[in-house]
């Protein structure tokens, strides 16, 4: 006799008012493969947990974003925001598809150079650029986005030593009606700081002002904030034209478009709550087009979009370690991945799917990571089919900020695999070992013998 598939027996109280859970039809179907490669096979080959990136999705996202903007505005250039995910394979996929680079630190800058991005196509942002960093950027003719007056003065001094004018933009912050206002970076529009900096640059004449930059925030749920921001940026650009006859090459609107992740506490699922790429494009393009630029002086629109281009191209595959019953009766499931590699679980309710067939019955539980730390909660409340030790899951929308912000706390960082557009997986970062972890450590000689 053929035995039947087993599932844990589960009983749970039906919450009055949440009638949709009666009979517990489970909407989240199993995800058994990523771009045609079975989850089982990926875990067998690269270990568990493992990050998997879909290059196909990355390219589709960039293509769709380009289409949304280029059908509305004639001069558009994306620059890949390195800190979102700076694995070289990822950066190169973006560059190959036409993206420039946007960096915020020296090592990111060097990475972009090593990835083959020509200096003029590396936008250098951030409040912490040393004189050495600035000299390197000037040598490669990269646009330097000035963050504060000290940086401006230092650039003036460095400009005296070098043989060609540094090419610069200033970062602007402004009120777009969205709270919190990101006013710690750059020069403020409303209180005149921005004009003050622009006047200094124009009067001194030591720097070549080529653009204006802003980044109004991240995961911005309002497209109209971008309309306001683009209007203010255009106002500054037109003011430069009037006052100094200066035509800037570009307006850089930064990043910040929301991905389809669901913010904690949000009633609506991410995809239903956030503006589409078309909404953002319409808001920005309409502001720039109606600002009053001469047709032949229309600035380029630069975009430093990060999370919206890669979040949904990233998956974390993991395995159930054990199930537990908490003292208050709640079910808890312990996974082999924790918040040390899933930093974004602090503000997102990540979508999680089982990776094998399961019944349509769903159970409420808490998902914990494997760390010996109370903060290691991947989902405070999730509804999944009964999972058994050894079962596998897929965590969705993890492509942005997790790999770059992960740490080897208690557990080592996992391998990262990218599946190319033909469906072939490539290892793009090895799993860490004790050796990688201890690289750079130096133990003083007198501690060689511990004598226990």
């Amino acid at each position: 006799m053929q035995k039947k598939a087993y599932e844990r027996p589960v009983i749970q109280r039906v919450q009055t008012g949440i009638t949709s859970k009666v009979g517990a039809q489970y909407g989240n179907r199993p995800v058994t493969d990523i771009d045609g490669v079975p989850v089982k096979q990926l875990i067998e080959r690269y270990g568990s947990p493992v990050f998997v990136l879909s290059e196909r999705k990355i390219r589709q996202n960039l293509e769709a974003a380009n289409r949304a903007f280029k059908t509305r505005y004639p001069k558009v250039q994306f620059a890949w925001s390195y800190k979102t995910n700076y694995l070289n394979a990822v950066c190169r996929a973006f560059h190959q598809a036409g993206s420039w680079a946007e960096v915020v630190s020296r090592f990111e800058y060097e990475k972009a150079l090593k990835n083959g991005v020509p200096g003029p196509k590396i936008l250098f942002n951030g409040p912490d650029k040393t004189d050495e960093d600035l000299r390197l950027a000037i040598q490669h003719d990269s646009p330097i986005h000035i963050d504060h007056l000290d940086e401006l003065y230092r650039l003036h001094a460095i400009a005296d030593e070098v043989d060609h004018k540094p090419r610069v933009a200033i970062r602007i912050n402004m009120d777009t009606g969205v709270y919190p206002m990101w006013d710690r970076f750059g020069f403020n529009y409303e209180n005149g700081q921005a004009w003050d900096a622009l006047n200094k640059i124009m009067t001194m004449g030591k720097l070549e002002l080529i653009g204006l930059h802003t980044h109004i925030g991240t995961y911005m749920m309002s497209a109209s904030a971008y309309h306001i921001a683009a209007t203010k940026m255009a106002d500054l650009a037109l003011g430069l034209r009037n006052r100094y006859g200066k035509v800037v090459t570009y307006i850089d609107m930064g990043g910040g478009f929301a991905s389809h992740n669901t913010l904690k506490g949000s009633y609506l699922k991410g995809a239903d709550a956030v503006p589409s790429m078309d909404d953002y494009a319409e808001a920005i393009a309409s502001a720039l087009l109606s600002a009053g630029f001469n047709q032949d002086e229309l600035p380029w629109l630069y975009l430093e979009t990060g999370r919206a281009l890669i979040d949904d191209a990233g998956f974390l595959l993991g395995t159930v370690i054990s199930n537990k019953r908490l003292s208050d009766g709640r079910k808890a499931t312990i996974m082999d991945f924790g918040v040390n590699i899933l930093f974004t679980s602090f503000w997102y309710d990540h979508k999680i799917s089982p990776a094998q067939d399961s019944s349509s019955y769903a159970e409420d539980s808490v998902l914990y990571g494997p760390l010996c730390m109370n903060i290691d909660v991947v989902r405070e409340h999730v509804t999944l089919p009964p999972l058994h030790a050894g079962d596998q899951v897929v965590v969705h929308y993890v492509g942005a900020y997790n790999i770059t912000q992960s740490m080897q706390f208690i557990t080592l960082r996992p391998a990262v695999v990218m599946i190319d557009h033909k469906g072939t997986p490539h290892l793009i970062k090895q799993v860490e070992s004790l050796e990688t972890l201890e690289r750079g450590e130096v133990t003083p000689d007198y501690l060689n013998e511990i004598g226990l």
């Binding site: 035995k3 039947k4 598939a5 087993y6 599932e7 844990r8 027996p9 589960v10 009983i11 749970q12 109280r13 039906v14 009055t16 859970k21 009666v22 009979g23 517990a24 199930n323 019953r325 009766g329 019944s359 019955y361 159970e363 009964p386 058994h388």
Partner: protein, 84 residues
């Protein structure tokens, strides 16, 4: 020893359970329902375990662990007789 489901508990075929004295409702998955029905029919824990091992792809230890947890929940929800 048999753990007994309270007599007044109603079990529906679809895995819906109603506790008339508290008004609470519960849902069980198909395997949970099968176990509850065996319990209602007066089978002992050992008999239930033997039945499950015969019909499902599961080993004894795994089932025992899950069954134990299930029984804890039945007790928590006060669906079984206090005296066994």
């Amino acid at each position: 020893m048999a753990m007994r489901i309270k007599k007044n508990i109603a079990l529906s075929e679809s895995g819906f359970i109603f506790h008339p004295s508290t008004g609470d409702s519960y849902s069980v998955n198909p395997i949970g329902l099968e176990i509850l029905n065996l319990m209602k029919a007066g089978q002992s824990s050992e008999e239930i375990k033997a039945h499950m091992l015969e019909h499902y792809r599961v080993d004894g230890d795994s089932f025992e662990k899950d069954f134990y947890d299930f029984q804890v929940m039945l007790r928590t929800y006060k669906l079984v007789e206090d005296h066994e």
